[in-house]
Amino acid sequence: MNIGTHLRRLRFEHGEMTQEALAKSVGITRQTIIALETGRYAPSLELAMRLAGVFGCKLDDLFFWKDGHVPPVPQKDGR
């Protein structure tokens, strides 16, 4: 996955918030928080905005492209 996250750092900066507390505040499971923090799951826009809302930051402060720039769109056979 090309998207990274600062979720873990932001959690610790916000009073060492637990994964469980964060999960509860945005209505998802702790397992999904783990999947997000380890870069195995890309959230929906709604969830991403909810998470940003919890930390009072912009989406760019929470998620980023790992390569530092937008990667090219994967080519698919249009037929």
């Binding site: 994964q19 209505g27 998802i28 499971t29 702790r30 397992q31 999904t32 783990i34 999947a35 380890t38 870069g39 195995r40 799951y41 959230p43 929906s44 969830l47």
Partner: protein, 216 residues
Amino acid sequence: MSGITDVMGVLEHSRLIKVIGFLLASIGFGALLAWAGLVTGCAVGWIGALTLIGWALLARRHWQTLYERNGTEPGAPERVTWQRLAGYSLIFGHMAFSYFNPQIDLHVGSGNYLAIDNWALILGLVVSAMLFRADRRERDERDDQISALATLWGYRSLIVLLVILLTFIGYLPPDLQSIFNHFVIGNLMVGTILLSLITRQAVELLLYARDSLRPL
């Protein structure tokens, strides 16, 4: 590949094997029950039902221990999927063994011990499902994505199995057609549906295994 990725790959592999091993063990236990019923003439379905409930209680305790120890327990929808896989596989194993034993009443539609066994197993499935009823409400978008993909594979397997079954019945030599009376065909259809449900649950667990341990 880096060392960490190697370790993750091995862990992922072992989790995949765990899902397949559990599936085969459940089917095998169901077949063993049917065999025991055939040999002893007892309604062994109750043993299967109690085993299923006992397994559900032990699994719940094990996952609670994992949660308290290091938080590595499976999520609620994954726990429900394990329970369903156990139940469906057990019932399927019991039915599958019966298909290959003409002396069991499944083939002739008389007698009732097999029906008692099957209904006892279904009762065990329902009771064990009740132990996980709170888990059914706890899910999010990631679970829905995994569930949607697993459901797709479940339907695909159902279509493939139905095509195989119908082709088999359609091209059966006339002297064998008498074996496949409507009672047997009905039970084969039930087995086909069960197999597609098992495929769905197994794919879901494989997706959870891949999702939780996929190399970064």
